[in-house]
């Protein structure tokens, strides 16, 4: 019964008729998200086509970066409106999210301790790189590539939320690891496909797959 009522109520709120319109409504939603949110989810919540949402998000992004982007009359070169804001809207890990602008990192760091996690060791970075490019991958195979036991490093990376158990090898039963959404977010990329190419660093050895396992 209550559900029925809210079904009836919903259409009554039309964000586009509020001051600021759909664009401001998007901003309002972006204020409460705690992970990157897709244009599709935003479109669903606002009852607006995804294309429109996407266009508005790009406009917001440009506004925050200091372009006026006010439609046709936007080319008035007002110096004031071309000042970048202290925050930016970014598309990462497949969604949109507000971030503080990196130029102000020294100030922000004084207020936000969370997420200022210690830098990763060289061992952890190498292990993370192997997992990112070979995922899903077992610890034994990562060990084979690095030439050392990686158990404790894998554990640290999992605790940091950068990797997670992704699958189980159907033949051996070994746990296979992959990178997480959080990894993409921390790296500021949209998906694993956006990782820099490995092949330029592997001249003629792209098909190395078989070498890793032989010694183990």
């Amino acid at each position: 019964m209550k559900d029925h009522q809210s079904d009836v109520d919903e259409p009554l709120f039309d964000a586009s008729s509020e001051p600021g319109g759909i664009k401001a409504a998007l901003e309002a939603v972006l204020m409460v998200v705690d992970e990157p949110v897709t244009a599709t989810r935003l479109a669903t919540a606002l009852l607006v086509p995804v294309d429109e949402v996407h266009g508005l998000l790009v406009e917001l992004q440009q506004e925050y970066d200091g372009y006026t982007g006010q439609g046709p009359e936007g080319h008035t070169t007002e110096p004031a409106s071309s000042q970048p804001r202290g925050f930016e809207l970014r598309s990462v890990a497949g969604g949109w999210r507000i971030f503080s602008r990196s130029t102000f990192a020294p100030v922000v760091a004084k207020f936000v301790l969370e997420g200022q996690s210690a830098r990763l060791s060289q061992a952890a970075l190498e292990t993370l790189a192997v997992i990112a490019y070979r995922q899903p991958v077992s610890r034994a195979r990562v060990s084979g590539i690095r030439g050392v036991n990686v158990d404790s490093v894998v554990r640290t990376l999992a605790l940091r939320g950068l990797i997670a158990e992704a699958a189980t090898d159907p033949e051996t039963g070994a746990i296979l690891y992959g990178t997480t959404q959080y990894f993409l977010e921390r790296l500021g990329i949209g998906s694993v496909a956006d990782l820099p190419q490995l092949s330029p660093h592997l001249p003629g050895l792209e098909n190395l797959g078989d070498f890793d396992d032989t010694t183990y």
């Binding site: 192997v130 030439g147 554990r155 070994a174 660093h201």
Partner: protein
């Protein structure tokens, strides 16, 4: 274990502390770059002695050199020695299976080394990227109270007993997840250079020269072969045996020196055989 240490400060230039290296490939690359060489057979031959020197130095100073890592170092050391030995002799035809095996070992070592180098380079880029991205903080604030109050009331069906059971399960130390290939043999048996030397001594003392292949054909695993090789080098240093190799990459014949009666493996250098380490745990208990 050492892997877990934060060594964020990238060593600038070459440092001589083995602890700074993440495994044998890292050390090998470090040595090669120190000599400003590309990864070639010549480079490998050039750095072989240094590589082995570092392993010895490290084994001499740090009991924390866990066996599974040591074995990886030793396998690579053995391959390097093979390559160097082969290079010192005139280039010959590929004659038998051992030649082929050597070539395969060389190619495998090159491939793994280059692959490691690629990941190391990519890891450096990832590190820079992560550091750059860390300058931006995402907005992540708690939900405004007015919205938090709208959340649907929690459905709670867990009894205190069920809850305790959950807690017990979650708090139970977990077994390390299995790796697909058992590497227990690396931990289970410590292969001692001194013991292997003793065994080799007994066989050689009978008077018949024996080939390296004969001396190792009953070896259970690669590690034992490597350790027997090291034992022979030690015995050669003690002048109790002599080597004879008729042709490049030919059979290595080992002969007991008839005039040695009082040799005992106890004279084998201490540096290999520290008190048998207890098998290192695969993973910190969790």
């Amino acid at each position: 274990m050492r892997d877990a240490l934060p060594d964020a400060a990238e060593p600038t230039g070459f440092t001589v502390r083995l602890e700074n290296f993440n495994g044998p490939f890292d050390l090998l690359l470090g040595l090669i770059s120190k000599h400003e060489l590309d990864i070639t057979e010549i480079a490998l031959a050039t750095v072989t002695d240094e590589f082995i020197g570092y392993i010895r130095a490290f084994q001499g100073t740090d009991a924390d050199f866990s066996l599974d890592e040591a074995s990886e170092f030793l396998v690579i050391a053995a391959t390097l020695l093979d390559l160097k030995a082969a290079r010192l002799l005139p280039a010959g035809e590929v004659e038998d299976d051992e030649d082929v095996a050597l070539l395969e070992a060389r190619d495998l070592l090159f491939a793994r080394l280059l692959q490691y180098k690629a990941f190391k380079e990519i890891a450096r880029q990832l590190g820079e990227r992560l550091a750059e991205e860390a300058k931006q903080t995402p907005r992540q604030v708690s939900l405004e109270p007015e919205f938090a109050a709208m959340l649907p009331d929690l459905t709670w069906r867990t009894t205190p007993e069920q809850f305790a059971k959950l807690a017990a399960k979650a708090l139970e130390p977990r077994e390390p997840a299995p790796t697909e290939v058992g590497i227990a043999h690396l931990h289970g048996s410590t292969v001692s250079v001194r013991e292997q030397a003793e065994l080799l001594g007994i066989r050689l003392r009978r008077g018949h020269p024996l080939s390296f292949r004969q001396l190792t054909q009953d070896a259970e695993d690669m590690l034992t072969v490597v350790v027997r090789f090291l034992a022979l080098l030690e015995m050669f240093r003690d002048a109790v045996i002599s080597f004879d190799q008729g042709a490049p990459l030919g059979n290595l014949t080992v002969r007991w020196s008839a005039d040695v009666e009082n040799w005992s493996p106890a004279s084998i250098s201490e540096e290999y055989d520290q008190p048998a380490p207890t098998p290192p745990a695969l993973e910190g208990p969790s």
